[in-house]
């Protein structure tokens, strides 16, 4: 049982880090939309629209690391006895 929690903590840490890195490594807050600017040729005004997109930020990474720490702590707290029972 202890081992399961340690594995879950490791998977959460690595998974969240990979998602965060491959989604652009955004150092700001998580964004769920992208700003798209389009120039109106008659007026010269840059129109702004938002398109749905997910860019995890440091809050996403932080939340995942906190979750991993909780999972690891649960694994640490669990008595070795339950590990033996599981085996």
């Amino acid at each position: 049982m202890k081992r399961i929690f340690y594995w879950l903590a490791a998977i959460t840490t690595v998974g969240a880090s990979l998602v965060w890195t491959f989604a652009g490594g955004n150092l700001g807050w998580t964004k769920t939309s992208d700003v798209v600017k389009q120039l109106d040729p008659v007026t010269g005004i840059e129109g702004i629209t938002y398109h749905q997109a997910f860019h995890p930020g440091v809050d996403f990474l932080g939340a995942a690391l906190v979750l991993a720490a909780i999972l690891a702590a649960i694994g640490f707290i669990l008595p070795r006895k339950s590990l033996k029972k599981a085996q």
């Binding site: 807050w29 998580t30 769920t32 389009q38 008659v42 007026t43 005004i45 840059e46 129109g47 938002y50």
Partner: protein, 207 residues
């Protein structure tokens, strides 16, 4: 008698173009069918930067190309249309602790008087003064404005329509504290200064 009628008709015909030249103010509607009109806001605090925009713009402006200094009008921004890319930030921005958009749904500026009016071709710059309402507080402010009059260009923008366009651009700074928005709170994360950039186009439809 016949000569008199002909002469009168001729005089009337000659007077018509003169009457047209003495133009009256045109009313421009800023409800943009293309959804391009926008106001951009930027708050740059020591710890955080908040950037967003609003596109729920409406209002009317009375503009006389022969006398741009006499321009008057009202521009409204729907507070609910203020958007930032982070959903939690947007929720806080709209919530009761900040803009409280449910209670104060409109942000409004009324152009009442123009000063330092300079016109070069179809571009007019001026300092416009009037009441600005935000978060239930109204303050009289003066902001620099650039008006670009584009006669007969509405059809280029919206096919099938005839009329003129008026483009208004402005950049100015407000202090959220002046409008009782979390006055003197969280200034390390949410700047007291709000940098606003307005770029909007209005249309005066002609038959």
């Amino acid at each position: 008698m016949k000569t008199n009628i002909t002469l009168n008709s001729l005089l009337l015909l000659l007077c018509l173009p003169a009457a047209n030249l003495k133009a009256s103010p045109e009313t421009f509607d800023f409800k943009d069918p293309k959804g391009v009109n926008n106001a951009v806001f930027q708050l740059d605090a020591p710890l955080e930067s908040v950037n967003g925009s609003a596109n729920g713009i409406s209002g009317t402006v009375n503009f006389d190309p022969a006398n741009p200094g006499a321009t008057t009008g009202v521009i409204d921004v729907a507070a609910e249309s203020l958007t930032v890319p982070n959903p939690l930030q947007k929720e806080h921005l709209h919530g009761p602790n900040w803009l409280d958009v449910a209670k104060y749904p409109d942000i409004r500026f009324e152009a009442q008087s123009f000063a330092n009016v300079k016109t070069d071709g179809n571009i007019t710059t001026a300092l416009v003064t009037g009441p600005f309402s935000l978060h239930g507080v109204t303050q009289t402010i003066s902001v620099p404005l650039t008006l670009t009059y584009l006669p007969g260009r509405l059809g280029d923008r919206v096919p099938g329509m005839h009329g003129d366009l008026l483009v208004i651009r402005s950049q100015f700074v407000l202090k959220r504290g002046d409008f009782n928005i979390q006055k003197r709170h969280y200034e390390d994360k949410v700047s007291n200064e709000i940098h606003l950039t307005l770029a909007i186009a209005g249309a005066a439809v002609k038959p």
